[in-house]
């Protein structure tokens, strides 16, 4: 190595040092410790004791584990696609070159800024069975609204519905993606006599597919970790554990029941699920995602 390059490498090492420490202390160490703890009986009050795969075996037999996993899957399966469809539709509407784009964009975007706890408190009130706005609106068109918050059949749909309210962030990303689609492609499609739907289907969606993929993966990671809103709205995952989600149970194991090894095993299972789902999305997308020249 020449002196100049060595000097540059030394400088780089110094510049990168905060992250080298951060990576070691806040990522690498906890990741290793967590995998070790997941094979231990451990609480913060006592030293970890190796128990082999017992945490994992107990998890497989733990009804609440499966309940929270299926609740989380339910939430992800409905909230993710619904959120994507709404976000893309809003972005498509805003991309029609109508006047006042900035205004509409602000209206759709503002709700996604509302801090999670405020959002949860607000929607407790919106979904209130007797005097909530949602049931008042349903009543206005002659439908008797359900007891969103106390009926186990309706608690998860309530969470899915309110998640749609926060799609503004994703919408802004899609909108930027749409504005990057070259106009020539649409002109060519027009010459071929394509309808609006055909243009959306064959030009727009393929062109923004990398953005869709990015949002899908981020969505999967985020949805599997859903915690704050159900924690505030449905204490203990009520009613009848219908809103008891994976991260809530993990949190309770770690900090309420002091079963920290068990919580780490849950964490690793979640990490594996995220990895597998990401891998599947990437694999499926190979056929369908179109990357432009840049």
């Amino acid at each position: 190595m020449t002196l100049k390059r060595r000097k540059e490498a030394t400088a780089a090492f110094l510049f990168a040092s905060p992250w080298l420490i951060g990576f070691a202390v806040f990522l690498a160490y906890p990741l290793c410790a967590s995998i070790y703890y997941s094979f231990c009986d451990y609480s913060v009050l006592k030293l970890p004791v190796w128990i082999g795969t017992r945490n994992y075996e107990n998890l497989m037999r733990d009804e609440i584990f499966w309940k929270t996993l299926s609740n989380t899957a339910y939430y992800a399966i409905f909230a993710l696609p619904l959120g994507m469809v709404v976000a893309i539709s809003l972005a498509l509407l805003l991309n029609t070159k109508v006047k006042g784009l900035a205004f509409y964009r602000t209206f759709f975007f503002l709700p996604s800024l509302v801090p999670m706890v405020s959002l949860a408190v607000l929607w407790l009130w919106m979904f209130n069975g007797e005097s909530g706005l949602v049931n008042a609106a349903l009543g206005g068109i002659g439908i008797k609204g359900p007891n969103w918050l106390s009926d186990p059949e309706w608690s998860k749909p309530a969470l899915v519905l309110l998640s749609v309210w926060g799609v503004g962030n994703a919408m802004v990303i899609y909108l930027a993606g749409l504005q990057d689609v070259p106009v020539q492609l649409y002109e060519a499609a027009d010459l071929d006599g394509a309808t609006a739907w055909q243009k959306t289907r064959n030009v727009t969606l393929p062109m923004i597919s990398p953005v869709i993929l990015f949002n899908l993966i981020m969505g999967i990671i985020g949805t599997l970790q859903v915690f704050t809103v159900p924690y505030v709205m449905f204490p203990g995952g009520s009613p009848a554990r219908s809103t008891y989600f994976y991260t809530m149970y993990l949190f309770d194991n770690a900090f309420r029941y002091q079963k920290m090894g068990y919580a780490c095993a849950m964490g690793w299972i979640m990490f594996l699920i995220i990895l597998v789902l990401t891998m599947i999305s990437l694999r499926l997308s190979e056929k369908h995602v179109h990357y432009g020249g840049s």
């Binding site: 490498a9 905060p18 990741l31 009130w125 990303i173 949190f251």
Partner: protein
């Protein structure tokens, strides 16, 4: 023929506006409902059908929510929560800007062996969910004696985060390298280039990173829930949850007033920094 085409075009535009206005209202209703409930007398919150404009505007609700149980506590809770949140935001934002700009300089502007591999590893860490790390990090902070203090909530910000490194690195790379070369010829050190060439040009990206960290800290609930013990140290999010669990299901007007107190600064911040916000989100989504 041309005329009728123009007319259908006009009709279409009007239709789109109609849909957009309807949807905008739908998205705004919950926030308007929050404000409307916040200024109502308690007996008007439960009316069916709902009454949007109260008979008297109870501005005192805000004061009442703000100062709830301050007599028994001996301090004004939401004032203390707000101060705590601000302290965490300031310390965290400072740390984020300083640490990530340094690290991004190493990744984006310097050549060193193993850089691209290290960067790939850095990006991959974004996939690690916090719940996996939660227990060992808690154990570590407990060893440090940091549980119940603010430190777990701001110190990590001084050691970089993959997301901010990524964002800043992308931006740093777009700054012409000739500027660095010229500065070097003038006898500038790497530190000098970082400080007087790259940083001044990177202000928009630094603003985005700062803004996102501010929002994240303001929003954070799980962190304060895990690490803070004494109500006097609570943040706005955690404080609001405590307020909700104590007053839930009855005094909706006060609850909505309290929620509005937590939301309002963020909305105000948004209107002052709209450009950075939209650009920042776009940056995160498209350059991926």
């Amino acid at each position: 023929m041309a005329r009728s085409h123009k007319q259908t075009q006009k009709l279409k535009t009007a239709g789109i506006h109609l849909v957009l206005v309807a949807l905008s209202l739908l998205f705004m209703f919950p926030l308007l409902w929050m404000l409307s409930t916040a200024v109502k007398p308690i007996d008007e919150t439960m009316l069916q059908p709902p009454k949007w404009i109260p008979s008297v505007f109870m501005w005192g609700n805000f004061r009442e929510a703000f100062t709830y149980s301050s007599d028994t506590l001996g301090y004004i809770p939401f004032l203390v929560y707000g101060r705590n949140t601000l302290i965490l935001c300031i310390l965290g934002v400072a740390g984020t800007v300083v640490s990530n700009s340094l690290v991004a300089y190493a990744f984006g502007r310097l050549k060193w062996p193993g850089r691209d591999f290290a960067f790939a590893v850095t990006l991959a860490t974004m996939m690690v969910p916090f719940p996996v790390l939660m227990v060992p990090i808690y154990g570590m902070f407990k060893e440090f004696g940091w549980i119940g203090t603010f430190k777990p909530l701001w110190v990590p910000a001084w050691f970089g985060s993959a997301f901010a490194i990524f964002l800043l690195r992308q931006f740093f790379r777009s700054i012409p390298f000739e500027l660095s070369e010229a500065a070097k010829l003038d006898g500038c050190s790497e530190w000098g280039i970082y400080w007087s060439v790259v940083m001044p040009l990177a202000k928009p990206a630094l603003a985005v990173v700062a803004l996102f960290h501010f929002m994240g800290t303001w929003n954070d609930f799980l962190g304060p829930l895990i690490y803070l013990l004494d109500q006097k140290t609570f943040t706005l999010s955690l404080g609001l949850q405590v307020f909700q669990s104590q007053h839930g299901g009855t005094q909706w007007n006060l609850l909505m007033a309290a929620s509005a107190i937590v939301v309002a600064p963020i909305i105000v911040l948004f209107f002052f920094t709209q450009k950075q916000f939209i650009e920042g989100i776009t940056m995160t989504g498209l350059k991926g």
